[in-house]
């Protein structure tokens, strides 16, 4: 089980508890604004873009090659960017905060 805090584009905090899936699926199941997950999590739509809180970047880890190639061309990308669907939820992410980029 991990508690994840999403900060939506309009500044609302949404806290979600999840024990599986990804940062995208947990957000979609809890209707977090700005995360749509249109492609279902195969890294094709970028509607799950988040910025990982600075303190968590090393624990969350870097984007893979396919994800990095997508992110390279996304608006609002920075060194904390990840696609939520490519970040599996695992117990060590308990307490993580991410900012939803949205479109």
């Amino acid at each position: 089980m991990a508690r994840i805090t999403y900060i939506t584009p309009d500044g609302k905090q949404v806290v979600v508890e999840a024990s599986g899936g990804s940062l995208m699926t947990a957000a979609v199941q809890n209707q977090v604004d700005g995360i749509e997950g249109e492609c279902g999590g195969v890294c094709s739509c970028a509607t799950c873009h988040v910025h990982v809180d600075a303190a968590w970047i090393s624990r969350v880890g870097p984007a893979g090659d396919a994800e990095a190639a997508m992110l390279e061309l996304e608006d609002g990308v920075n060194s904390a960017s990840r696609l939520g669907c490519q970040v599996p939820i695992r117990p060590e992410l308990d307490g993580l905060t991410v900012r939803v980029v949205g479109r």
């Binding site: 492609c39 279902g40 195969v42 890294c43 094709s44 739509c45 396919a66 190639a69 997508m70 061309l73």
Partner: protein, 390 residues
């Protein structure tokens, strides 16, 4: 090795560009995934503001209006797109999803008799048209006429224009909806405000034109290709049944593999250079979705259907500001169809396939089927299968 759906492999690997004859020019087609994406992002250099020219061969002789929002650039594009976005987001609603599953179940059940049926006219076309009626929030009965238009709304297979029929239908609909406070596509666009004014009839017509034409042959070719795939791979339905998550991955994989839209075109008002291709000011360049979707540097087993491909960064629905507005609808239809096939169908027998092949100066490519005659073998309910207790 060239395949019927990927005639671009050699050029993709050698130079990243293929040339095709279009509107009197040798137009470059960009073939690699990241090059296609980069062009999609750079709308100042690669513009959509060129009416009738969004596809390689001008549509000026088959339609009379600019298509919205696709044939526009920001900042106008942003505002035009926002006007219709609420319609295209309807498929994200849970009730809409349930109702779509019922519709697909019903259309498949009607088509799935042991007799010979045409998966194009008896399944793909009614699915496309009846689901569009839901998207546009008009009565299901409207779809009867749309079905009668066939796969292509602008041209018959022999190239004869029939765009005039669609045009007069659309204009009549906007007129009939004048003053209405209903929530259908036509009434809502009549009331819409664009940059502090009402839309002109030309603009509304251009929106409707895109809604009717944009997702028509693309969706129909994808559906018929899915049926052909299951007819050739009888074990694959069982593979999907084993893990429900595969409905999602298979949907994306069919969109990647089929890539029914060969190319969408950008115009370069100031000229551009892409790899070794030099585009003169006012010249055009094509984005070749099926080739980008088989880029071997991004996709393993790039020319095979991998139904559980979990990493699938395809651009079947485009990329960037013009990414497909109908993607949520298309995905929902395909996911619902896979769900229905898994529940209702044991196997599909191919009787006859007549492919639809696009012929260009430098390549030909299979995009789907003109006719796909099959028979569906229904799934025997578990309780009735010999040797299985109820």
């Amino acid at each position: 090795m060239k395949t019927e759906r990927d005639p671009f492999i050699q050029k993709r690997q050698e130079s990243g560009v293929e040339y095709m004859r279009a509107e009197g020019q040798e137009m470059p087609l960009v073939l690699r995934l990241q090059d296609v994406r980069k062009i999609c992002k750079d709308w100042k250099t690669f513009s959509n503001d060129d009416p009738f020219m969004i596809v390689p061969h001008s549509e000026a002789n088959v339609r009379s209006v600019r298509q919205y929002p696709i044939e526009t650039d920001p900042p106008d594009h942003t505002d035009y797109r926002a006007l219709v976005e609420p319609f295209f987001r309807r498929p994200n609603d849970a009730n809409y999803q349930v109702s779509m599953q019922h519709l697909v179940d019903e259309v498949l059940a009607a088509a799935a008799t042991p007799d010979c049926v045409d998966a194009v006219s008896d399944l793909a076309l009614p699915l496309q048209s009846r689901s569009l009626a839901r998207l546009l929030n008009v009565d299901d009965s409207e779809a009867k006429l749309w079905i009668s238009w066939g796969t292509h709304v602008f041209k018959e297979g022999d190239g004869i224009s029939k765009g005039a029929e669609l045009s007069s239908y659309i204009r009549e609909k906007f007129e009939a909806a004048e003053g209405s406070d209903a929530d259908d596509f036509f009434s809502v666009l009549n009331r819409a405000d664009f940059q502090s004014r009402k839309l002109t009839l030309e603009e509304k017509h251009g929106f409707a034109n895109m809604a009717f034409a944009g997702g028509r042959d693309t969706l129909i070719h994808t559906i018929s290709s899915i049926i052909a795939y299951f007819a050739a791979h009888s074990e694959s339905l069982e593979f999907l049944r084993e893990d429900h998550a595969r409905i999602i991955t298979a949907t994306e994989e069919f969109v990647r593999y089929v890539s029914p839209l060969t190319a969408i075109v950008r115009t370069c008002p100031h000229g551009a250079k892409v790899l070794d291709a030099v585009i003169a000011p006012g010249g055009r360049v094509g984005l070749c979705w099926p080739s980008a979707n088989r880029d071997e540097t991004a996709f393993t087993q790039h020319d095979e259907v991998v139904l559980d491909r979990s990493l699938n960064p395809h651009v079947g629905f485009g990329f960037g500001i013009h990414r497909c507005l109908g993607a949520a609808q298309a995905r929902l239809i395909i996911r619902s169809l896979l769900e229905s096939l898994c529940n209702q169908i044991e196997a599909i027998k191919l009787i006859e396939a007549i492919p639809e092949v696009e012929q260009e100066s430098s390549f030909e490519r299979k995009v789907g089927y003109k006719r796909l005659l099959v028979s569906f073998i229904p799934r025997v309910p578990r309780a009735l299968r010999p040797g299985l207790a109820a």
